[in-house]
Amino acid sequence: MIRFIARFAWQDVTDRSARRTTRVVFLAVAIVCAAIISPIGFALGVDRVSRARLERDPLVRCLWTGENNVRGRITPAVQQTIREKLRARIPTLDGVAGVYPFYNTEFQFLNSKGLPQPPLDGRTITLSSEGNDPLQSSRPTLNGRVLQQSTDVGLVVSPKFWKDLGFDPKSPPQSIKLYRLADDPIDVPIVDTMQAELPTFHLFILTEDYERELRRLCTFPSSDSIQTRPIPKGFPLDPDDLNADAKLVFKARGIDASYDERGGGRVWWILRWKASDPVNRNQLEPSLRTWQIILNELHSRQTNRFASEGEQQDLRVDTSRFVVPLPPKVEKYDMAAIYAPDLDSLVEESEIIPTIVAGESLLTVNTEMVEKVVRLQEQTKLMLRSLFIALGFLLLLAVFSIYFVQSLRADQQIAEIGMLRAMGMSSSAIRCVYLIEGFFIWLPAASFGVLGGSGLVWVCSWAWHRASPEEVSLGFRVPTFLVIGVLLGTILLTMVCIRLASRKALRISPSRALRAAE
């Protein structure tokens, strides 16, 4: 029966010998319907913001979507509030503030005047400070400072570094803070290599100048033991390398004659970074949010020496203790958290923190960004208002059109329907015929409308911004929800209109329908 109904409806719609006027009316209404749906697609498409951009900086997210996801609430007053909250979050500038490698943020330092320093041309170096560490022996002449985070990692900075930062190299600050989050600073002590023994550490990040100085000073065989390599791009994080087991192996061969027991051995580290994805990272404990450097201590403790070349191949490193425990890859984003975050948490996580820390003068970049976002937002708001007003009229027109056309069809087919009812066709089956006929007409129109609307987003974006929607943050994506929404809306609208329009044909008795046809 369903096949009969569908076939009946399809053949009726595609009947080439149908009246010309009817076909013209159908075509016209389909075009109107497409024209109606196109702006809907356009409006919704325009209102979409690049998620990637939003995720990159929560404050942008906030500025674009507005506080608590209410558009248009980022007024200048709100912007001021955000700035004040940001400042309140930043501790007193008692030294040099930097941002610990986090997100995709470059390692950034601000000098004592709050001006950002160019990125350090750092290099990694692997050393050991145990025993007769050549580095320590060179301490008196080094006149350097070591920024030590832990026994695993430290920053060795040269006097020039302090000079660059605006400090007197002879009286540098006692510590600097590196910020992972605004409330999660890492207090990095400044270790004076002139006065204190270096603790055990294995990895340094040092400036090129310092490295040169170090090599000059450490002429003892240790100079050969210093093996450096440029910091890989994006080190330690590569946001694109989600959940990948990133590995960096640093080798130090023939460290020192005094390291006989380790001669020919290999010191190697495995870096694993599993939490480069912002969403994953946010679910981690703060202490786990940083990268981890793993030293193959297990083997050395067991054998009192590092693994040889051959042993290296067979060495099974217990990596479980080094792997950051992560939940399964988060497929579903908590959109409420992303688009309607708490303002305080936005401020905490914002990348704007490091630049705002130095004061108002550094807000120029942010202001520009904010202004751009607000400008786009205003444009969009105006555009949406105009569109929604037009859409209101078009929607009414669509409803009337569908109703009118379906009523017309019901009247035209009254004889056939009367005959079918006389032969025993049920009302529900007849309603089904009308519905299927309606969908054959309206669904293609809706589909074209969605495609047209999506294209319109691009056209308007190029017309206004000379750029793709993606570039101007007028996000354009394959509008899955939009397609589904519009199609569902069309189905609903069609069903309602067809039901209303077909009431007449369904209510009258077969005899009256046949009489009406005569």
């Binding site: 029966m1 595609t14 005959m419 008795s509 077969p510």
Partner: protein, 271 residues
């Protein structure tokens, strides 16, 4: 299926004239019954009531539908659903206009009753072509209904009415717009169905044809039972008539059935 009418009165509106008034008749199963009368005499209304095409009940009186097994159901007790099933499974219709579905071809049009019964497309198409072949119209199978002449359309309508082998076919003025040649063809088809030549599923006695027509001579030749109406009332007695109850002369019958036509006060408009 037989019909038992007792004092049936019918009005389209409560304060309107009675379209049917005190009509009583036993229409037996099998045979051909001709409902005769002038325009407005209530023939089509009676047919609509018998076929349960009306959604209104008779104002008074009863109409009983009796199956060949003798079980009967009263008009008022027939729910819309039952009525629909009755029409679908047991009734066929040949109306003044064929009311074919223009976008379907002839075979599909003929197969519509089977489609409504849920017969698969291939089966119903095959049966439609069989029926066309029996009617010597197999070359019509793929032709669009829209391309047919009036007579051809009516012949297709007859085949549509008989394809599911109904117990009763209601024919309302099927020849009114046809020439004698097509009239004869359609009559031949209906006769073949009634005599069981088109289908062998039922005994010939169980097929009834209720024919509403102005064509008096044809009705007298074709029908075995007669129900003449005049302004909603039976002309003779309160029963159905056989040929013997009517005058032998056709003109006399015409005077009887069309009394106004022969009235001394007849106006030119009546003609």
């Amino acid at each position: 299926m037989s019909f038992v009418l007792r004092e049936v009165q019918f009005r389209y509106s409560p304060d309107g004239n009675a379209v049917l008034n005190r009509v009583s008749a036993d229409i037996p199963a099998g045979g051909i019954t001709a409902v005769l009368g002038m325009s407005g005499s209530g023939k089509t209304t009676l047919l609509n009531l018998l076929a349960r095409l009306e959604d209104r009940f008779p104002t008074s009186g009863t109409i009983e539908f009796r199956s060949v097994r003798g079980a009967g159901v009263e008009y008022r007790d027939l729910t819309p659903r039952r009525a629909r099933e009755l029409r679908r499974d047991h009734f066929g219709f040949v109306l003044q206009s064929a009311y074919l579905l223009g976008h379907l071809d002839c075979a599909d049009n003929i197969a519509v009753p089977l489609a409504l019964q849920g017969v698969s497309y291939n089966d119903r198409r095959r049966r439609a072509i069989e029926v066309l072949r029996e009617a010597e119209m197999e070359d019509f199978a793929g032709r669009s209904a829209r391309d047919l002449s009036g007579g051809e359309r009516q012949r297709i309508a007859v085949l549509r009415a008989v394809i599911h082998d109904p117990e009763v076919i209601f024919a309302d003025e099927p020849f009114s717009s046809l020439d004698p040649y097509n009239t004869d063809l359609i009559l031949a088809l209906l006769k073949r169905w009634q005599s069981g030549e088109l289908h062998t599923g039922k005994a010939s006695g169980s097929r009834s044809l209720i024919l509403v027509t102005h064509h008096l001579a044809l009705a007298l030749e074709f029908a075995s039972l007669f129900l003449p109406l005049n302004e909603g009332e039976q002309l003779i007695d309160s029963r159905i008539l056989v040929r013997a109850d009517l005058p032998d002369d056709v003109n006399e019958v015409r005077k009887l059935v069309y009394p106004r036509h022969h009235s001394p006060n007849r106006t030119p408009h009546d003609a």
